[in-house]
Amino acid sequence: MGAATEINRLRWQCRRGMRELDLLLLQFLDSGYADLDANATLAFNRLLDCPDALLLEWLLGRQLPSDKEVADVVQRIRRRPAA
């Protein structure tokens, strides 16, 4: 799968059941995803496999995932993007 196709695939995986998740995940896909190294990219994929209710807890900062690499990606998503 080419890079553009992979981004498209991820774009669809960022479509979730809640507006909060849609906005945070898509904003990150457009502005932060390209900076991830290979391990963090895998962690981002693992994050997207998690259920929406858990994603909400993590992305709103109520809990941190126990998987350290996923937790790091969560922190990056929560960081303010450069204007």
């Binding site: 799968m1 553009a4 196709t5 498209n8 695939r9 774009r11 669809w12 479509r15 979730r16 059941g17 809640m18 507006r19 909060e20 998740l21 849609d22 906005l23 945070l24 898509l26 259920p51 929406d52 209710a53 992305l59 709103l60 900062g61 109520r62 929560r78 303010r80």
Partner: protein, 587 residues
């Protein structure tokens, strides 16, 4: 054209709570069921329903279904159909117990019974003291229900087509529904799914408005498919708004913030609600607060560089109060605006929340249309349930806790009717190739490689037009302009194109198809709103501020063909009890 085909007894489009509840009932009855969903089923918007599900269990306070029925009829501003409302309220305890047996972890009382919380609009004794009717699984009821239903469906061997987008319904010249053309998003390949019965359970259309609380998937796909198949949409002018969404983002800031002492400020630093509601001020009803915010912005007294919102101030409450009483709001605002509401006011604007209108159905979930024999003739083989349908149990205004109930009760009712139907119709009708070709044309239209308009640009314009011309502030002039602008956008959409013509996960193409759906529904909504010259429930016309039962206690029907309006009476006769006659709706 020869396309791959699959055959099932029933095709369900949409895998939220309504679709999954129906699928489970059917699979357990040994029907061959296919569920098509554009996203993975547990990512459906049902997951966002936090409040709970209403049922008169009387676990906390005395209650019965008849009081629940009264509250729902009154809440609907007497536009709800009383037979469907009676059916729903009577069925409510049963669907909740069924969920409990499927493993939904409802919050409990010390005696082990299901805990029930009080919500707005709930009363005892037909308008008396507050009732407690909402069953919840902490603050993630929708999530718990969706996951339980999905797991039960896997066990019952329901066949899932995950990440398939439904293009259009397939019908024969007699109007029988034969199935649907769908598109596998991962491969870009079309597939014909033949079915003896089809259930639409595709949810609402919050994406019609720029500021909304809905997930991006809520583009009203099933409603638009029905319109294109010649079926009218009912009561589309009724859209529920919440006065305080985060400006430009849409997420809800609960009324609790104002209950705790937060108040609204305009760009001049004025506490403007004092002018609109001298007594209740910031705690006036939702529609009053929403219109006040809209008016301030429209008259140039908004905040921010574009003066396009107002501020919700709570920093005067102090960090301790905000941290203790409003922790969820604080997290949300910090996450999305990178500011602490305990120190800085929150930019807010009215946000679109729930589609009361939809595909007209009876209480068995059968899609019904006006035909020679009356206003509600069933379309053979076609069903709808949940937010995409209009039974109508919510009428002009939905009560909190009744949307999860709606999807569960009518998903189940539709499945039961389908089971009877399948016994009588054992064979698939012959496929109509013309219908397949028509649906394929909708797809191939986006193969063109040049044009003057982009999908993104048109979607943004449409959402802005709908917000400005069909939002919380409506009058003849604004709505007329709204119709003209949507018609113009629809014409411009003919010149739209997409750059990406790849097959695998071509999300640009899906977004283009979603835009077409939104455009159809926008017209239905703004045309219906223009014609209804009264104020009722969520539809408030400043030029017709009163409810007019003599002329308007009737359902609107919008037909795509010629943008024609039609009307039918409200079903005021319940199944077994006396009707509730219309009264002024005061709380």
């Amino acid at each position: 054209m020869s396309l791959p085909r699959r055959k099932f007894d029933t095709l369900i489009i949409g895998a939220g709570g309504g679709g999954l509840r129906a699928a489970l009932q059917l699979s357990q009855a040994e029907a061959r069921v296919a569920v098509v969903s554009k996203v993975f089923p547990t990512r459906s918007h049902t997951v966002a329903a936090q409040g709970g599900v209403n049922a008169a269990l009387a676990n906390v306070l005395p209650d019965n279904w008849h009081w629940h029925m009264f509250d729902t009829v009154k809440g609907s501003d007497y536009l709800g159909d009383q037979d469907a409302i009676e059916y729903m309220c009577r069925a409510a305890p049963r669907v909740v117990y069924e969920l409990e047996h499927m493993g939904v972890p409802f919050s409990r009382l010390d005696n082990g019974k299901i805990y029930q919380r009080a919500f707005g609009g709930q009363s005892r004794n037909f308008g008396g003291d507050q009732a407690a009717r909402t069953c919840a699984a902490a603050d993630r009821t929708g999530h718990a229900i969706l996951h339980s239903l999905y797991q039960q469906n896997i066990r019952a061997r329901t066949h899932f087509f995950d990440e398939f987008f439904a293009i259009d319904l397939l019908r024969d010249p007699e109007g029988n529904v034969l199935g649907a053309l769908v598109l596998e998003i991962a491969t870009g390949e079309p597939l014909v799914i033949e079915a003896k019965t089809v259930l639409l359970a595709t949810g609402g259309a919050g994406q019609l408005f720029r500021t909304n609380t809905n997930a991006l998937i809520n583009t009203g796909d099933g409603m638009a498919m029905a319109l294109r198949a010649g079926i009218p949409l009912q009561d589309m002018e009724f859209f529920q708004f919440h006065p305080t969404g985060i400006a430009g983002k849409g997420m809800l800031i609960t009324e609790g913030v104002r209950g705790e002492g937060g108040y609204l400020l305009n760009g001049e630093g004025e506490r403007f609600m004092e002018r609109y509601a001298p007594k209740a001020k910031d705690l006036a009803s939702r529609d009053v607060v929403s219109r006040a915010i809209y008016t301030e912005v429209r008259e140039g007294r908004g905040c921010g560089p574009d003066k396009d919102h107002v501020l919700l101030k709570l920093d005067h409450l102090g960090v301790d109060v905000v941290a203790k009483r409003l922790p969820g709001i604080r997290e949300t605002v910090k996450t999305f605006l990178y500011l602490d509401p305990a120190e800085t006011p929150i930019p807010v604007y009215p946000t679109a929340h729930y589609t009361m209108g939809g595909i007209p159905t009876n209480r068995h979930g059968q899609v019904v249309v006006p035909e020679h024999n009356g206003p509600e003739e069933p379309v053979l083989g076609l069903y709808a349930a949940g937010e995409c349908a209009c039974v109508s149990v919510h009428g002009a205004n939905r009560l909190g806790g009744n949307s999860l109930l709606d999807i569960l009760v009518f998903g189940r009712a539709a499945a039961n009717h389908i089971i009877g139907e399948l016994k009588q119709n054992r064979y698939h009708r012959p496929m109509n190739d013309d219908s397949v070709d028509q649906a394929m044309a909708r797809l191939s239209r986006w193969d063109r490689r040049d044009g003057s308009e982009t999908v993104d640009g048109l979607k943004r314009e449409l959402q802005t037009v709908m917000e400005q011309h069909c939002g919380v502030f409506r009058n003849e002039e604004i709505l007329k302009e709204g119709v003209a602008k949507v018609v113009e956008l629809e014409a411009r959409m003919q010149g739209a194109y997409i750059k990406d013509h790849s097959k695998v996960f071509n999300t640009a193409r899906i977004e283009a198809l979603e835009l077409e759906n939104l455009m159809d529904i926008a017209l239905a909504t703004v045309c219906s709103a223009l014609e209804r010259r009264e104020s009722r429930g969520a539809h408030s016309r400043v030029d017709h501020p009163e409810r007019d039962d003599v002329h308007w206690m009737r359902h609107s029907l919008f037909h795509k063909d010629g943008r024609r309006m039609d009307y039918k009476p409200v079903r005021i006769k319940p199944i077994s009890v006396e009707p509730f006659p219309p009264k002024k709706r005061v709380y």
